[in-house]
Assembly symmetry: C2
Homo-oligomer: 349 residues x 2
């Protein structure tokens, strides 16, 4: 099976040294965007944003905390490291333009392994038209650390903050929720089985969709393009990294409002439901508290209902209410349940 | 002695969780610069750079690789993490404006310890008029990781790249070199003695200057201000992080030129020379290969000689030559020695 990676050591990192390693891994990256005036190769990158707002975000991925090398292919990990950062720019209704990537690498990784990681970053950059413009590469005594900063552009007056939701706005979400979490549970189950019996063959068949959502999530640039084409500017937006419950609370708290969402409107893929049944987990729990979906959760004015109601990639799941900070779930049998934020917290595992 | 830190655990990180920790540590940071439109609190920070070039740089500091918790006070570490990033912006003849700080924190650190680290970052931000606008905070299984990205502004046409040095330009360096490396050697010597006998009192008296240069380096904003006041735009510039030898080669390689510097012109503080004598190390070795000085190495046109010759913070140490990639040291007894780059490489320790 491919997924349990064999990081065969071929070329020692220390045989190459930092400067040659940087040469090796940056060779395939070319800067293409007009806002990139100067990329890698000096003390700083030089960018030009004369007519746009500059958006900045950063994410840190830590081995053993955010990913497990036992079942994480390095190319997917590279793709994910970049994509989760792009997602933060899309969540402002912006467009990512540049990233910097800093790595702290334990000596057990080979040059080839690090190149594989960068191949994933390169693929994500190509798919999203983003330039790699800098970074820092150093050794690490224990875990692999990946720190990515993304720079993007937003149009003045069209940036979607968490704070702009208005009473009666419609609450929308892209794609579907909970799949990534179920993928993670399957990988953890198979890892435990493999540790108990290293000769076993992990059983991942039939779960390709949820595994893909976990290992190689995509950032929803398509949603930003669709909204632009429809002339819809979200009143508030956030990406779903910690689970729907946590993100709803962020929007409510920042906007000084409440919300009500309908259980039967929350989009969950059939593959997620099958996995939930296997684990005896409620699909709503996976959607609400699973996290790492990198879908976009946003609010739009009622006047935009006609423009978005038939977009297959977007579900309208509820509306904004006056009840400050109160997030309600209306269940299928028409009961009101208060939603508590129970997103993932790396300090509390 | 203060320097061997006692990280008394008072409040567990996991008792607070990520969101409350972020609230605690960001409370004292206020955004002041007009280019910061929106700081911490959304998916991205929003910045405005309508009339300037945007400069971006990033540095990663890893416990056990870049710093040793045995003798590194956390406040100094915070200051240094920010200052070394500001230094990259100054090295482009620019002005730092914003930073993002990402931390991966092992559970042995208390909330109080992390607040101490941020107190140092805050002090550096205040001294350099920089806003903290974002970051990521997560747990780590082993080492403390600090990833800082800095955003700054440069004036069009006045950015100093590594590639602009011209034949016959004067080579200048700010302050003095080699002090930080000698500070590090003293700390390592005292750590070894302390490990052999934990009841010993480390002997650091008389070495305050070199220890300060190692533990809490400053970024040379004053040099940028002086050059601006004198209407001097460096033809090339770099900060001395890996040692003078390595930085000279970077400028020569990027500019397609060579250089000659004079041993008797390289500025070395008397305190550094005393420490070098203690360790039986040539002061030129400390200056050439020590690194972490965060002084500015730059070239100026001959026409600017009058403007800079009497500035006490700046030494003219040599000139640019035609011999591609050849860096020569003219010794005190007038011999020519080729300078090899032997800067620090974390993969080769």
């Amino acid at each position: 099976m491919d997924i349990f990676e064999d990081n065969t050591k071929v070329t020692d990192l220390n045989s190459l040294g930092e400067f040659k390693l940087i040469d090796e891994i940056t060779r395939d990256f070319q800067c293409r965007d007009k806002s990139t005036y100067k990329g890698i190769g000096d003390d700083c990158a030089v960018l030009e944003y004369p007519d746009k707002e500059v958006l900045i975000s950063t994410d840190l991925l830590v081995e053993g905390v955010h990913f497990d090398m036992v079942y994480t292919p390095l190319k997917h990990l590279g793709y994910k490291s970049a994509a989760v950062n792009f997602s933060d720019i899309y969540a402002m209704n912006g467009t990512p333009k540049q990233i910097t990537v800093s790595l702290a690498i334990p000596s057990r990784f080979s040059v080839e392994a690090i190149k594989e990681l960068y191949a994933g970053i390169l693929q994500a950059c190509k798919n999203h038209h983003v330039d790699l413009v800098g970074g820092d590469t150093t050794s690490s005594l224990s875990s692999l650390f990946i720190s990515v900063t993304v720079i993007g552009e937003g149009e003045k007056g069209k940036i979607a903050y968490r704070s702009g939701a208005q009473v009666n706005d419609l609450i929308c979400v892209s794609g579907n929720l909970g799949a990534s979490y179920m993928g993670l549970l399957i990988l953890e189950r198979e890892k435990a089985a493999w540790k108990a019996n290293p000769n076993m063959q992990p059983d991942l068949s039939g779960n390709e969709y949820v595994l893909g959502r976990c290992l190689r999530p995509e950032a929803r640039f398509d949603i930003i393009e669709i909204l632009k084409a429809k002339n819809v500017v979200p009143t508030a937006m956030i990406d779903v990294s910690d689970g729907l419950a946590s993100e709803l609370h962020h929007i409510c708290k920042n906007s000084g409002v409440g919300c009500a969402i309908y259980e039967d409107k929350v989009p969950i893929d059939p593959a997620t439901i099958i996995a939930c049944n296997d684990f005896n987990i409620s699909p709503m729990t996976a959607a609400m508290n699973g996290g790492e979906d990198y879908e976009l959760l946003f609010t739009v004015s009622q006047k935009d209902y006609e423009a978005i109601k038939d977009i297959p990639q977007i579900s309208i799941i509820g509306h904004i209410t006056e009840s400050k900070d109160v997030a309600l779930l209306i269940t299928k049998d028409n009961k009101e349940v208060e939603i508590k934020a129970q997103g993932w917290d790396s300090f509390r595992q």
